[in-house]
């Protein structure tokens, strides 16, 4: 329902480099409460003859946010909020075999009011030792009871199964005490409201854009983490997302929509106000023109994905495969079906070729900018493991995958990529050995199109991210819910053109791109020397399963705080040999019967 829509809001969680970090003091009541209750849980938390926990971790996220949304110069909503969330991760058994990586029958109490069983709790904002400690006590108690029950179920299930492969449940990592704190920029709600009012007013000059808006979401997550192995970290992750969205209908009634999303850690990471106003006008102009543009016809042949489109292609198709997710043990054959789907297919392709030999890819969370542009990152992940660069693809050959402390086949250790419940892509940097100029790439595209007997070639400049669109339009939200996670998702080109042999371009609209799968990336025929820096909401394929089968609860608190996750990319433009581009099927809604009421009125 409506509430559900609000929760769908996705934002970026990124952190910048450590600067003048301060160590947590022993006096801090939160740190003291975490330390004291953790020590007690490790030594005393035990039910009758059942095992004690062998691992306990507490994470407290202090989340401050401000949001402002406006349409046509008028404020739709504005808010500021601060909440503090606790998450407990508790394991019984040992590193080799514990209560995690298991899909049981639920089996816990029919319902429970004790917070621990829900995987965490809302903590007081006041720094009161006793109250923080009370919540830690109750949450640990719930987590422990759930863990011993899971372990018993898992042992019982094992009596009827032979395990095909033996993998430890939790990796041993060297304990580390880390700090990743940046001074967070002040959160100014009045300034944000003024900005979105001002920017959104520019749409008044575009009567053919039927629905539009500008929203600002900024905040900071201050995290404290402590585990029983001696690891601890404090981390601050400021974020800022400015979204400009517009939707209309083409002259034939076909819906058109686009979103421009800008990310940063502080307002200074965004372009200046004049530049932002230009972006609003550019989006409105583009959409107004698209209304009259002919719809895409069916095209099979070479397609050049330029800049943002290449990055979004990586984000939606290839990058999710770079995250290691193993198949959990299941309690029964029915669950087995789900469990099988959890595994990343790329686990079997380590050592094999997944990209052309001229391309390599690394993930590096410690980068914060690339060629002067903000991309964000972090120094320590949610397991308390230090972030580092991981060479994923070396000259086309897949070397490893990004991981948490949950080992997968061939990946015994964490790469320091846990964010939330699962591993994520942080900053994916793709480099080309034999990158060509943009000009040469277009020439190559035309040459290949001609060889296929095509009168023109297709360039895709922007691909829509459904999660991003969903935030601005309830109808899009419904569509995104129905999105399949199949091997070849349908990609919507928000901006695409026909390129003719004489070099002139003609725009096309409502183009859907199909036939691009993770497997087709190894057949990329050429890449540009220039690279684009891009950030977009990232959906980790392991997220859902990690939440269900992990030692902790689902990170629903983060979801309820409206926080999602976005990954950054540095990628060249990419030329694919065989792609299908076509217009949509199905019936079209009619255009509105009257023009908008503000047509002709001047912006305030």
């Amino acid at each position: 329902m409506r509430r559900g829509l609000a929760l769908a809001a996705v934002a970026l969680c990124v952190a910048a480099v450590t600067a003048g970090a301060q160590k947590p003091t022993a006096q801090d009541p939160l740190d003291r409460a975490m330390r004291d209750e953790l020590a007690r849980s490790m030594t005393e938390l035990r039910l009758d003859t059942l095992p004690k926990p062998y691992f306990v971790a507490y994470r407290i996220d202090d989340i401050e946010t401000i949001e402002a949304t406006a349409s046509l110069g008028s404020l739709l909503s504005g808010s500021d909020a601060r909440t503090r969330h606790l998450r407990v991760e508790l394991r019984v058994g040992d590193y080799d075999f514990d209560n995690s990586n298991f899909m049981g029958m639920g089996g816990g109490p029919a319902f429970s009011m004790l917070a621990g069983l829900r995987g965490g709790a809302l903590l007081p904002l006041d720094d009161q030792y006793q109250e923080i400690r009370r919540q830690l006590w109750l949450a640990s108690d719930g987590a422990y009871k759930r863990a011993v029950e899971q372990l018993a179920q898992k042992r019982a299930a094992l009596q009827n199964q032979t395990r095909a492969e033996h993998l430890p449940d939790f990796s041993k990592e060297a304990p580390a005490v880390l700090t990743d704190v940046v001074p967070a920029p002040p959160l100014d709600r009045a300034a944000a409201e003024a900005l979105v009012r001002g920017l959104s007013a520019a749409f008044r000059a575009f009567p053919e854009v039927y629905s539009s808006g500008v929203s600002w979401s900024a905040g900071v997550v201050r995290t404290r983490y402590l585990n029983s192995e001696g690891s601890a970290f404090t981390r601050s992750s400021p974020w800022l997302v400015l979204r400009i969205h517009a939707a209309t209908q083409a002259v034939d009634g076909m819906p058109l929509g686009d979103v421009v999303t800008l990310y940063g850690g502080a307002p200074t990471d965004l372009p200046g106000r004049d530049h932002l106003a230009d972006s609003v006008r550019a989006l409105a102009t583009r959409l107004t023109r698209l209304r009259q543009t002919p719809v895409a016809e069916v095209y099979n042949g070479p397609v050049l994905f330029e800049g943002d489109a290449a990055a979004e292609l990586f984000n939606q198709v290839f990058a999710p495969r770079l995250v290691a997710a193993r198949r959990p043990m299941a309690a029964n054959p029915m669950m087995e079906q789900f469990a099988a789907r959890a595994e990343t297919p790329f686990l079997d392709q380590i050592g094999g070729r997944v990209l052309p030999t001229f391309l390599s890819a690394v993930d590096n969370p410690t980068l914060t900018t690339f060629e002067g542009r903000y991309i964000g990152g972090y120094r320590v992940d949610d397991d308390g493991v230090a972030a580092r660069e991981t060479r994923l693809v070396d000259h086309g050959i897949l070397k490893t995958l990004l991981s948490t402390r949950v080992p997968a086949r061939g990946i015994p250790h964490s790469s320091g990529n846990r964010w939330g419940a699962a591993a994520v892509v942080s900053n994916l940097v793709v480099s080309a050995d034999s990158g060509v100029t943009d000009q040469a790439l277009r020439a190559e595209l035309l040459k290949r199109a001609a060889a296929r007997g095509r009168p023109y070639a297709v360039i895709v400049r922007r691909i829509a991210n459904s999660a991003s669109l969903a935030m601005s339009d309830p109808m899009e939200f419904m569509a995104a819910m129905g999105d399949d996670e199949s091997d070849a998702p349908a990609l919507r080109a928000a901006l695409a053109v026909k390129l003719f042999p004489d070099g002139h371009e003609e725009p096309i609209r409502n183009a859907a791109v199909s036939g691009v799968t993770a497997a087709s990336f190894k057949d990329i025929v050429a890449a540009s020397r220039s690279r684009t820096v891009y950030t977009s909401p990232f959906r980790s394929p392991g997220g859902m399963f990690a939440g269900l089968t992990g030692g902790g609860g689902m990170s629903f608190q983060m979801a309820s705080a409206g926080l999602g996750y976005a990954a950054s990319y540095v990628v060249p433009s990419l030329l694919f040999e065989d792609v299908t581009v076509k217009g949509p099927n199905g019936d079209l809604p009619k255009p509105p019967l009257s023009g908008p009421p503000w047509a002709g009125s001047s912006p305030r």
Binding site: S74, G78, G108, P124, E131, W137, R197, R204
Partner: protein, 566 residues
């Protein structure tokens, strides 16, 4: 101090405006009227023109502060507006909202969300009209599609059970009251919430203890094509306190208290709240020691608050008009008009114009409903005989018009809902007499004991919006009453039964009227309601064991020196 003075002044203004029925200028109403007129002109040229169009814009301006065990967990202020468009094609008799065969509501089936939109909170006519325009266009197209569909559906189906028209024509109304402001200081309330929840912090066997303060101004602007224009604005101040403990056998034991007022000073003093908190703590500890009750049938007294909630749930929802129309509904009372449904001494009326009763502000007070119809008193049961239903603008056989009970949460389409439910008895007994009658009944039926339901948890549904873990409507304070008059607290039962049987077992009532204020949730969302009733003696109730988690209390003792459980 200043805040209070200011809001008092404001209330005086409100009252004056109400008395004068003055028509002030309202930029929101103006924008709505302009766009409504333009829309009708646009659609006039279409083959299927609307015969009715209405807009309702509702605004919720909310301050809320939540705390737990003496510390603040949340403190926020929020303001937003939502739109509901009702656009109808066809005519009053048969339109696009006609129920589908099989008894499903036509309107809900297709086009969910079509007439909804987020509306700017700035009073900017251009931006407001833009949102109205786009939502109206979508709604219109859907309505035309729906009409074709329901026409075919009606043609191929058997004759409808209820032949009433789809929509009632209503009188034109105009009313404007100024938009109220919130008279509560967040910082003051943060301090109060800390103080109210601090007493719980001494105990290690109370696992959740929360207080929530919500100050809300609910403003509504309504315009329709029949010429009605209404602007209302009502501040509401609410305070909820909830806590739970566990018995040694794992049973969850909750306690709730709620306070409700139209002015900040209408809420109880700190002393009263703290006394209620202490009572909650004492009750929880007593419940922990109380024996679990086994399934039982026999006589019982429902306290005033318990009876009020019982009537709201069991009776009130069954006299909501539109439920008599749809085939999927139980329609307990549909064919019972002018028949006796309660003992002859009992009457039930709903009165949204009542602002205060028995020293308490009534949550179900309003001047106009969400379809622009003027609120009025509706006598539903007169001396035991069912007379009418609660009506929105959806007529049913024998009841052609609305009686001002079309209500909705902001942004949702309204249906018939309750307002202030009042149960009256012609022959009130004293509390002592009622207990004596219970004991006589126990003896007559040869039962070892009877029951006293002191509080039913209607309050549980109230907190659901903020604590997403509510499951049940259940009695929390239940006593065994022995033939010698002794009372013993018990725990762990739900009150079950069927409405008609239970009503026929009502024997008598006392003279002690109690008020229950709460939020009621149904298909048109959450609306504030009130229920008022004396205590009732029922000759036979049935209780069953309530669902409990098998989860034991925490393994380790509290990590602080907790006060000993008394």
């Amino acid at each position: 101090m200043r805040t209070i003075a200011l809001s008092l002044l404001l209330c005086a203004c409100v009252a004056m405006a109400a008395a004068a029925q003055a028509r002030a200028t309202s930029p929101v109403l103006d924008a709505m009227r302009t766009e409504l007129t333009r829309s009708l002109t646009t659609f006039k040229g279409q083959p299927t023109a609307p015969y009715f169009l209405s807009y309702e814009i509702s605004e919720a301006h909310t301050v809320n502060v939540a705390g737990s065990f003496g510390a603040i967990t949340q403190s926020a202020e929020h303001r937003h507006r939502a739109l509901d468009v009702d656009l109808r094609v066809g005519d009053y008799r048969f339109d696009n909202t006609h129920p589908l065969r099989g008894g499903l509501p036509g309107r809900a089936f297709m086009g969910f969300g079509e007439g909804m939109a987020e509306i700017p909170v700035d009073d900017d006519p251009g931006a407001i009209r833009a949102a109205l325009w786009y939502a109206t266009d979508r709604k219109y197209k859907r309505a035309v599609e729906q009409l074709t569909w329901v026409k075919t559906n009606a043609a191929v189906g058997v004759a409808a059970e209820d032949t009433a028209p789809d929509f009632s024509a209503e009188q034109r109304e105009t009313f404007t009251e100024p938009v109220a402001r919130i008279g509560a200081d967040r910082r003051v309330w943060e301090e109060k919430i800390r103080r109210y929840t601090a007493p719980f912090a001494r105990y290690g066997d109370i696992y959740e203890a929360e207080a929530v303060f919500i100050a809300e101004v609910d403003s509504r602007w309504y315009v329709n094509s029949e010429g009605t224009e209404v602007q209302t604005s009502q501040p509401i101040y609410r305070l909820y306190v909830s806590a739970f403990s566990k018995a040694d056998d794992g049973m969850e034991l909750p306690r709730y208290e709620s306070f409700w007022a139209f002015t900040p000073e209408g809420l109880p003093s700190d002393r009263t709240v703290l006394a209620a908190v202490q009572k909650m703590i004492d009750d929880l500890h007593a419940l922990r020691r109380a024996p679990a009750l086994e399934p039982y049938t026999g006589p019982a007294i429902l306290s005033g608050r318990a009876s009020a909630v019982f009537f709201h749930e069991v009776f009130g929802h069954r006299v909501e008009g539109h439920r008599q129309k749809l085939g999927i509904e139980g329609q307990t009372f549909k064919k019972k008009v002018n028949e006796q449904v309660l003992p002859p001494g009992f009457s039930v009326y709903f009165d949204p114009t009542l602002r205060r009763l028995a020293g308490t502000d009534l949550a179900g007070f309003y001047r106009y409903d969400d379809e622009g119809v003027k609120a009025r008193r509706v006598a539903v049961v007169d001396h035991g005989t069912l007379k009418t239903f609660l009506m929105a603008r959806s007529p049913i056989e024998g009841f052609a018009s609305s009686n001002g009970h079309g209500r909705a949460q902001l942004g949702l389409p309204p249906v018939a809902r309750q307002s202030n439910l009042v149960v009256e008895t012609a022959e009130p007994h004293s509390q002592a007499e009622l207990k004596r009658m219970l004991i006589d009944e126990i003896k007559r039926e040869n039962k070892p004991y009877g029951l006293l339901f002191d509080d039913i948890e209607g309050g549980f549904t109230i907190t659901m919006r903020f604590i997403p873990n509510a499951f049940n409507v259940m009695p929390v304070m239940v006593y065994r009453v022995y033939p010698d008059g002794r009372e013993e607290l018990v725990r762990g039962v739900d009150f079950i039964g069927t409405p008609l049987t239970t009503f026929s077992k009502i024997v008598a009532a006392d003279d002690h009227v109690a008020v229950f204020n709460g939020m009621c949730g149904a298909e048109s969302g959450w609306v504030p309601v009130s229920a008022v009733s004396p205590a009732l003696l029922v000759s036979q109730v049935e209780v069953q064991k309530k669902l409990k988690s098998g989860e034991r209390p925490p393994i380790l003792p509290p990590p602080f020196g907790a006060a000993a459980t008394p």
